[in-house]
């Protein structure tokens, strides 16, 4: 097991190395080069010259790459052009917000998706099936930012149940320990702060979770359909086992393998979706910061964040692969 994990981690190295080269070349290909990105379009040639000298942009490309790589390995991802703070720090303070949002989105997607997919398969060809198929089709084709608009208009403007934007009401004087606002409120026993932060997560969480929800419904349905007529399920039924036992131990457990993969693969979608959702809801996570970085060509931030996200993405896929063997012991034997 450990050897498999080690091998997978080792495979990550060339991918990340390649990514760092691409990102390095990407910055060099920015309109007007990195100096213009730093100084803006109206920079004087002398200023550009000075910046090139200061940052070493006029040295040979290979040399620049090694300097850049050396800094990366020491954990120096540069400083944001927008805020002047280290990229690593910016990521660390914003990541909890996005993680909180992603967790809510995933709970929404999994909590509704798996039961709905199961029901659809159980009532195959009847209305719960048709209903969930149509629902998942709508979920896949509706743009995230459009859904965010609808939710915001309906549940924050027309019927003001939820707040329209932000992470927490500014009037609440909350103490922040971990930057996970909901958790902070619980830790410091500031229940109102925790509740307020939670309410701020609902609408963006639903908007972000809808595509994964639609995909999970489909995969669960297809997977349960395949499993529910298997011999071992028939045997279990013939033995007269409780419906609940058949469902949990025989059908769902065996049907979960493809579903787990799918959930792992949703992470990329979730991060792309977070850029859009956080923009609509003015939610200050990494998605919104990335959007600001794109606009201002804050390339150290873009570079750093893309590397972090790629590492995260690869690690999650590794965890998903490992979790197979926990869900399905048959994988371990092979």
């Amino acid at each position: 097991m450990l050897r498999v994990i080690g091998k997978r981690l080792a495979l990550l190295v060339p991918t990340l190395l390649g990514l760092s080269i691409l990102l390095f070349l990407w910055v060099r290909s920015l309109p007007g080069g990195p100096a213009t990105a730093l100084l803006g379009d109206r920079a004087t040639p002398e200023a550009v010259e000075r910046i090139n000298e200061l940052y070493g942009f006029n040295r040979p490309l290979i040399e620049q790459y090694f300097i850049y790589m050396g800094k990366l390995l020491q954990g120096d991802f540069g400083t944001s052009l927008l805020t002047g703070r280290p990229v690593l720090e910016e990521f660390a303070t914003r990541f909890p917000a996005t993680l909180e949002l992603t967790i809510v989105a995933l709970i929404f997607a999994i909590g509704i998706g798996i039961p709905l997919g199961y029901l659809a398969a159980k009532h195959y060809g009847r209305w719960p099936d048709h209903g969930s198929v149509v629902l998942s089709l709508i979920g896949i084709t509706i743009p995230v930012f459009f859904l965010a608009f609808i939710l915001k208009w309906l549940f924050a403007i027309k019927i003001p149940i939820f707040p329209t934007d932000g992470r927490q009401n500014a009037r609440i004087n909350a103490t922040h320990v971990t930057d996970f606002y909901v958790l902070d409120g619980l830790l410091t026993r500031e229940w109102d702060a925790s509740w307020d932060a939670f309410m701020h997560l609902i609408l963006p969480g639903i908007a972000l979770g809808t595509i994964p929800l639609a995909i999970i419904v489909r995969i669960t349905r297809a997977s349960v359909l395949e499993v529910q007529n298997a011999d071992y399920v028939r045997t279990a039924k013939a033995k007269g086992l409780l419906e609940r036992t058949i469902r949990n131990r025989f059908i769902l457990r065996n049907a979960m393998l493809p579903v787990t993969t799918t959930i792992g693969l949703q992470l990329g979608l979730l991060i792309s979706g977070a850029v859009l959702t956080e923009t609509v809801f003015a939610f200050s996570g990494i998605g919104r910061f990335l959007r600001d970085a794109i606009f201002n060509l804050d390339y150290p931030v873009l570079q750093g964040f893309i590397i972090f996200i790629a590492i995260l993405y690869s690690l999650i896929n590794l965890i998903v692969d490992i979790s197979y063997s926990i869900i399905d012991p048959r994988v371990r034997v092979q």
Binding site: P14, T15, L16, G18, L19, L22, W26, S29, L30, P31, L137, I138, I140, T141, I142, P143, V144, F145, F146, F149, I150, K152, W153, I157, L267, G268, L269, I271, S272, G273, V275, L276, T279, V280, L290, R291, I294, F295, L297, L302, I306, I309, A310, Y313, S314
Partner: protein, 314 residues
């Protein structure tokens, strides 16, 4: 060609059959798929949606009452009020923040959004197929290098990749097309490669090799046509994502040009601040994006079903 052969003793002559019925033995994969598509209501619905939007896009100059960037109703808007549907005669769906006619903008928006979607998918398909054929056809180190590159590109979430490319290219419609196209390349490349590899051991390839055909000929005229099915399906489905992603990029502000340019995603950007007083400015373009995507998705999924050998045998 079968006419030169005498009919089988059982009289199972395909020529005597009703030509409208599918011939389970003699029709080609694509003919059969087309026959199934025509009978699938899902495919028909998808085709109607796609055709309708394509028609609107093509006939935009005839259909739209005003030009895409015209602001004919500038005098009717105030900071607190934007006339809705039917409020001002001559503007069926009302006006937008800049004083443009919403209906005209939706129609011109169909043109630019579909154009971006189709061109970017064509780019992605072309690039992906080139890499896929090289990787699947040659194998060895070519395959290794290409697949590592694909892995790297796949380690960055799709939209983020497109956004980074668009940022490097500078803003504008062409930047969006190229950015979305490039971000699709890895998926097509990987799909075509795995499809080709699964075909590599097939009997017809062995037959072609035995005949002494060159590697290039086998790859291009035997392996490729037989492996391209899943790629075509994916391309149809990708058209939906491309339209959505194009809207997302211009929603994020990477479209360039003037604020009043007719484009669905951009219309949503400027509808943001008006959500309280004029929600139709967000809902109508959003609905257009969703319905277009629905059309392509329905079409793509019924195509997948039609080409699936498991469902073909039924």
């Amino acid at each position: 060609m079968s006419t030169t052969l005498p009919p089988a003793p059982g009289g199972n002559d395909s020529a005597s059959k009703d030509p409208a019925l599918p011939d389970s033995g003699g029709t080609s994969l694509w003919k059969d798929a087309f026959y199934r598509l025509r009978r699938n209501p899902q495919a028909i619905a998808g085709a109607i949606i796609v055709m309708a939007f394509l028609l609107v896009a093509a006939l935009a100059p005839v259909l739209a009452p005003y030009g895409g960037e015209d602001l004919p109703g500038r005098t009717h808007i105030t900071p607190t009020h934007i006339p809705g549907p039917g409020e001002v005669p001559g503007f069926v769906l009302g006006l937008d923040r800049f004083g443009g006619d919403l209906l005209s903008k939706l129609i011109w928006g169909a043109q630019s959004s579909l154009l971006i979607g189709v061109v970017s998918t064509a780019l992605g398909l072309a690039g992906g197929m080139l890499l896929g054929v090289l990787a699947g056809g040659f194998g060895g180190w070519v395959d290794n290098v290409i697949m590592r590159l694909v892995d790297i590109l796949l380690s960055v979430p799709n939209l983020l990749l497109a956004v980074s490319i668009a940022a490097a290219l500078g803003q504008g419609a062409y930047a969006i097309m190229i950015a979305i196209g490039v971000s699709q390349v890895p998926i097509f490349a990987r799909l075509l490669r795995s499809s080709m590899i699964s075909q590599r051991g097939a009997d017809y390839i062995l037959a072609a090799q035995t005949l002494g055909l060159s590697r290039g000929t086998i790859t291009m005229s035997h392996l490729l046509p037989n492996s391209v099915g899943p790629v075509i399906v994916q391309a149809t489905l990708t058209l939906a994502t491309a339209v959505i992603d194009a809207a997302a990029l211009s929603f994020l502000g990477l479209g360039g040009g003037r604020p009043q340019t007719a484009e669905w995603g951009r219309m949503l950007t400027y509808a943001q601040d008006e959500l309280g007083i004029a929600p139709q400015l967000a809902f109508l373009p959003g609905l257009c994006i969703a319905i277009t995507a629905l059309g392509f998705t329905l079409l793509g999924e019924s195509l997948r079903e039609a080409l699936d050998p498991k469902s073909r045998q039924k």
